[in-house]
Amino acid sequence: MNKIIMLTAALVMVLGLTWGGVALATPQADQAIWQSYYQKRFPNVPKEDFINGVYAIDPVSRESWEAIEEFPPYEMAISQGEKMWNTPFANGKTYRDCFPNGPAIAGKYPYWDKERGMVVTLPLAINECREANGEGPLKYKKGPIADILSYLRYQSRGQLTKVEIPEDDPKALEAYEKGKQFYFARRGQLNFSCANCHVQNPGNLLRSDILSPALGHTTHFPVYRSKWGEIGTLHRRFSGCNKQVRAKPFKVQGEEYRNLEYFLTYMQNGLPLNGPGARK
């Protein structure tokens, strides 16, 4: 009898069906649960408005955010990034030689590189372009990398998030699963996971701040954070969150955060890109 139950369960899992009405854990099923969860939790928020983070669910802070957006604090970064895009490297080539479809290329990232067996993010691709052309890599958290990302993301506004997990490469699914595990794993002395704040408690207060829903979290980076007083990247935010729960942060653009970005961005599939953004 046990063997029959186990075989049936295995068959159901392989076919990606449901078990007792609960969707089994395929990326597609995860994504459907993820997006539905937030829409059910905040039924008055249109799905596309989740790209505005906490401002989608808190009308008071939205007022001040909209006022900030009238004179966006990330404008200088966009201009600086445009200058970088158009300035030739020492060898005479430019970023366009690496990204012929640029500058509106952000919707393509992150993606699974089958040949290299790894997730490639846009900042990583930018630095690989630089190094291929004899330039030094940029630091990944802030500064010039945030400038050029601001320009590329600004040019890509409106593109839909469309991360793919190729079914013909189990390593891609493995990277996704690692990113998912990272997101839901409690860590640090405070024993918090990313999900404890942004899945379990969006809309609730953490000290004086309202926690944002994770739906839409990747669409608006890089962001100008008032707390930082400057533009920063998504991995800088990952690192900061880990530090806040008193976990040792991982290397930015290392495998852990790239897999995390892969999972988290996949969860936002279908949402338009709106970076760069401004946040508290």
Binding site: D30, Y37, K40, K180, Q181, F184, R187, G188, A247
Partner: protein, 109 residues
């Protein structure tokens, strides 16, 4: 009696010369042992991605305290680092199979 005088003489000479006495050497050895245990616990936690933020800071502070001869503080910090390393490892192992939580699945329906 002569032996006592002789021992005391050696102790005074050792102190004057700044050489480690038995007690200091013991304290140092205990501290080194505590630090080795803490470093190992930290390394083990790191192998599973479970290192906590402040372990490195505690180890550094422990070394500074030991350098000043404050072994009580140094050992306390080393012990704290070791304990955090062990807890970080246990925490990471307990979380290695987590996925979408039940409340999220239930809340999506």
């Amino acid at each position: 009696m002569r032996t006592h005088h002789f021992s005391a003489g050696i102790l005074v000479a050792a102190l004057a010369a700044g050489l480690p006495t038995g007690s200091w050497a013991d304290d140092q050895a205990d501290f080194e042992k505590a630090m080795t245990a803490a470093r190992e616990a930290r390394k083990k936690a790191a192998t599973v991605g479970g290192e906590w933020r402040d372990i490195g800071k505690f180890l550094k502070q422990a070394e500074q305290a030991a350098a000043k001869g404050d072994f009580a503080t140094a050992n306390q910090l080393a012990e704290k680092a070791r304990r955090q390393g062990e807890l970080g490892y246990e925490q990471a192992m307990s979380q290695k199979d987590v996925g979408l939580p039940a409340y999220m699945i239930a809340g999506s329906k």
